[in-house]
Symmetry: D2
Subunit: 338 residues, 4 copies
Amino acid sequence: MWGRTDLLDESDEMVKHRTDEEKNTLKNSEGIFFKESREGAVLITSIEVNEEGEKKLGKKKGKYITLTDLTVSPDNEESFHPLEKIFIKKLREMHNDYNLSKDSKILIIGLGNATITPDAIGPKAIEYLQGSSLTEKAERVKVVMYAPGVTGQTGFETSDFVQAISNAYKPDLIIVLDALAARNSERLCKTIQLTNTGIHPGSGVGNQRKEISEEVYGVPVTAIGIPMVVDGPVLYADAMEQVIHYIASKIEEKGSPSSALAVTPMVSNKEPTIDKTVLQPIFGEWVTWHKDEKRKLFEEVFVGKNPSLFVTPKETDAWVEHYAYLLSSGLESWITTR
Amino acid sequence: MWGRTDLLDESDEMVKHRTDEEKNTLKNSEGIFFKESREGAVLITSIEVNEEGEKKLGKKKGKYITLTDLTVSPDNEESFHPLEKIFIKKLREMHNDYNLSKDSKILIIGLGNATITPDAIGPKAIEYLQGSSLTEKAERVKVVMYAPGVTGQTGFETSDFVQAISNAYKPDLIIVLDALAARNSERLCKTIQLTNTGIHPGSGVGNQRKEISEEVYGVPVTAIGIPMVVDGPVLYADAMEQVIHYIASKIEEKGSPSSALAVTPMVSNKEPTIDKTVLQPIFGEWVTWHKDEKRKLFEEVFVGKNPSLFVTPKETDAWVEHYAYLLSSGLESWITTR
Amino acid sequence: MWGRTDLLDESDEMVKHRTDEEKNTLKNSEGIFFKESREGAVLITSIEVNEEGEKKLGKKKGKYITLTDLTVSPDNEESFHPLEKIFIKKLREMHNDYNLSKDSKILIIGLGNATITPDAIGPKAIEYLQGSSLTEKAERVKVVMYAPGVTGQTGFETSDFVQAISNAYKPDLIIVLDALAARNSERLCKTIQLTNTGIHPGSGVGNQRKEISEEVYGVPVTAIGIPMVVDGPVLYADAMEQVIHYIASKIEEKGSPSSALAVTPMVSNKEPTIDKTVLQPIFGEWVTWHKDEKRKLFEEVFVGKNPSLFVTPKETDAWVEHYAYLLSSGLESWITTR
Amino acid sequence: MWGRTDLLDESDEMVKHRTDEEKNTLKNSEGIFFKESREGAVLITSIEVNEEGEKKLGKKKGKYITLTDLTVSPDNEESFHPLEKIFIKKLREMHNDYNLSKDSKILIIGLGNATITPDAIGPKAIEYLQGSSLTEKAERVKVVMYAPGVTGQTGFETSDFVQAISNAYKPDLIIVLDALAARNSERLCKTIQLTNTGIHPGSGVGNQRKEISEEVYGVPVTAIGIPMVVDGPVLYADAMEQVIHYIASKIEEKGSPSSALAVTPMVSNKEPTIDKTVLQPIFGEWVTWHKDEKRKLFEEVFVGKNPSLFVTPKETDAWVEHYAYLLSSGLESWITTR
């Protein structure tokens, strides 16, 4: 559980915390194709890495799509509709090249532990799918669906489970749904991630599980994940960054009255340039550290101290319901109309 | 779902409604070994059919064990303890010849639909097992456990699922847990059935599912079932029999005052000899029919009329909890101490 | 739990198993107003008893409405839509005389034990209502909702609970939702019953609970119930009646070839006239007994034998979901548009 | 929901972050009686405020007991046994003066929203209690139990609910169970708090709910709470303190090699004296701020930014199960043997 797709690493390391100029450079670099767009409140980040990019960056070749909507709310089902609409669109785009026909067979696997609320998105989505029109039409649309549980429950490696069913069913496509550990607390419960590079179940929390990917099975694998938990050090480092930026903007404001009109961007991927000299008296040398260095300090302080550093919003039950429904409804819609 | 083990047919056709003399004949017949004993309130029926018996009776060769305790109550957890104790004992006896070592691998499958209460015994038992000491010791005791759901939910034949996992895990023994459709309303929720002849998931309600058995997988299969539902015609025919016997015993009583002392046997497998001439004025020719003929009349009357003829006691939630716990606890105990 | 509204007794004793001529007599009798109509597949029976009728019949004065739709199916949510539409209409009609304004306060109580599936309709409906638009508008529409559980769980008499909340909240109307024990197995899970004469929680199964009614609280009480369980003797007697009518119609058919065209009525409230002389050889004197006498014989046979004689269809989970949703959705619709 | 007992304020403001000398002063001050002891891994803090103390400190007169065990683990049920043992002991001590006889009536209320996992401790504990021996003996031990849900669900003020039932049942003691918002992230899920000063349901998150206390009802009220969530700013400020202390101890270590033997206290209520001059280059002026000032800065930064700042450990399901069971089991034990 708490798998991390490579996507997360990619997007974090490659895209986040870069200035617009850096992003332009990224766009022009060879081997990697980066695109960012917005539809309504939904920010869409698409990254494609080819073999050249894989060699240069050491990152797995493939497509990475991140959909972020900071306006979704656990109290309002309708707030998820724009995100679902674009999710379906991206599912379609992502599988355009696969030449899936009406007779193509799809295996959908919901990863995660149904008894741990924030990890239950995969199993819950399968539950919804098993009550959807896909089962009535099961014969026709050729879909097989399982929520195998986690290795600690079943005694069987999850990757081997998928392999076993794949060998028996011989699908043309495997879709894997999972809850993720967020690398960025701002995106917690606000993001859907899709990739065709596979997933490492449970790799996020130290236990090395076998990969679920096309390389392993010989069948295309689409991984779809929702960041549902964040570990303490990531959360604290994010909070510290926010404090530093807040103070910095306060100081800036004083000098430039027009800045009072500044609108906070919906997704803060453009970091303001901070005059660190001004902040140093308050926060000391620390202010000059990169966020990741701050996170590493927090990790060093908390290591071994609290085995349950991972936290989740208190409304996690509602978030899980909404995303499990969104995933099942989006998949149903794409599969029946593809 | 609502699988019926061959055991049910066997025990019903071979054992029930036979007089003591007939049972003695059965015991002495070649090819079939019949034994009945009692420990406390638990009635134990063991039948073994060999190849000769299989040819003669057309019944599958193998062992059939039925444990019945009419004193268990959904309101009293402790009332299940004697049944559990004997269940563990019989598990041990049944697998004596298998030469299972500490290194033997066991695959446990909980059949059934978790969203239909009386069909949820298999999935619930797996849930309990996944929270038991077996998972802590999973590496050591070598147990793999799944509740795959039913074909209508997953889109995949349950028998093929077991085959796929069996091919990948290569177990030395497969144990299958399932809710059953009772052929006898008196035993509803009062009986555990074990057999090494396999199970036909869903065969009880018309849809022909593939068998789960040693013949299919090349691995020994132990099927364990609890009768949780009964179909209308069986229930009505049983009720009619009870009425007829009740009236008959009332009439008899008048003639023989000593019979007032007669104690109803705990399991009514000894049918009183009824003087049908006496009952005919009240119930007509009908009274002379065999119970199965009465059932067939009910079936003819109700066929197609009510798709949900299957009924279950209203306390089905409590029954399911108790038996799921009993099965998981018994299996845990046997597996860790074998 | 398993309350029985007076409605059930009324409709069973007063209306069922009467010939059309008898019904006409009923319609013309003084003190009781009987009306039967049909909208689509929904049969609507309305009975109104006035003071004169109460004296004559010994039945409580008030309105009794029964909605029956034999075409609803647990597998098909849409099959419940016509029933819901008429339920809302009848809610409106029933409360026309109450002069409820926008400021009127309504107390909704869901009776029953949430841990026993067929008894969970009341608590489940409250759960749905608590997630409905009524809570958003709670201030405006003035609705208070509770599922108190049963006396055996809480240690407090349910009627006293309602009284306590009623005293504190001072509602203008109390609505009570409950699962019922059916007197007629054909209507099991196919009927909604409404009455303004109150309800006796748990009165159905022997334990005398205090009444929930306008007489007790001084506030109008509308009881809404769904028959979810049936006790064995009722079920067996119904089955025997069906067998007898089946045989009778078979015998009749032989004499009149045209009857092969006969269509079984959707709700079999018109009993065919049976020539009992013809059936007596088969079923004996028994065939001449009234259904209630047969039921009493079954009750005598089974009394004390099986404490859980109450049965429910195996798909009870799905029935409960559908009716809990129908009740909450219907009430929400009526309350917000009244 | 997320109520905060006065206990939390008391213990935080009065006891935490004080040196041993300050604690001694506290012990000797008039109007407040402070005691700290340890049994095994359980730290017991008892505070009693009398009228004089109430005037001086502005804190409510009454008893405050905090039990903290940092060794409890969500994966190990047995780890909760010592805490439960002392919980029962403290229940007994706390009610010694109440002269409760066998005939005394107790009303137990489980506060909170059952559909939000970390808020479900109260409702879950009631569920366990309703399945415990208390219901069998309900008549004898005179206990009434309810989980009313939250005002947003029911439409009725929770305090008025308790009042209504209290008026009807006339208990000799009211016990209120609730999940709390922690003021200290270290104690999250590690602490049980008892007080006789009452509780303010939902007061923790801004919405002013009516108090549940002896003053309101005229009946003694014992509030029992478990801190299950923590809000972001508290968590971040705690994390920053830990970082600062970690760096400080690293710097200290260099100067005094013997300090390498220093053992971190199990409950860090003794703050090391930090030489702030040494830390200022790294963390700036900030290091000199009090923890509460840091928290206020975090609050200022995050205010209005994220409506769901409250976080909970990802294993919240397991924590809730364990504490709901501990509370029900402890109460059952105390009530039946008092």
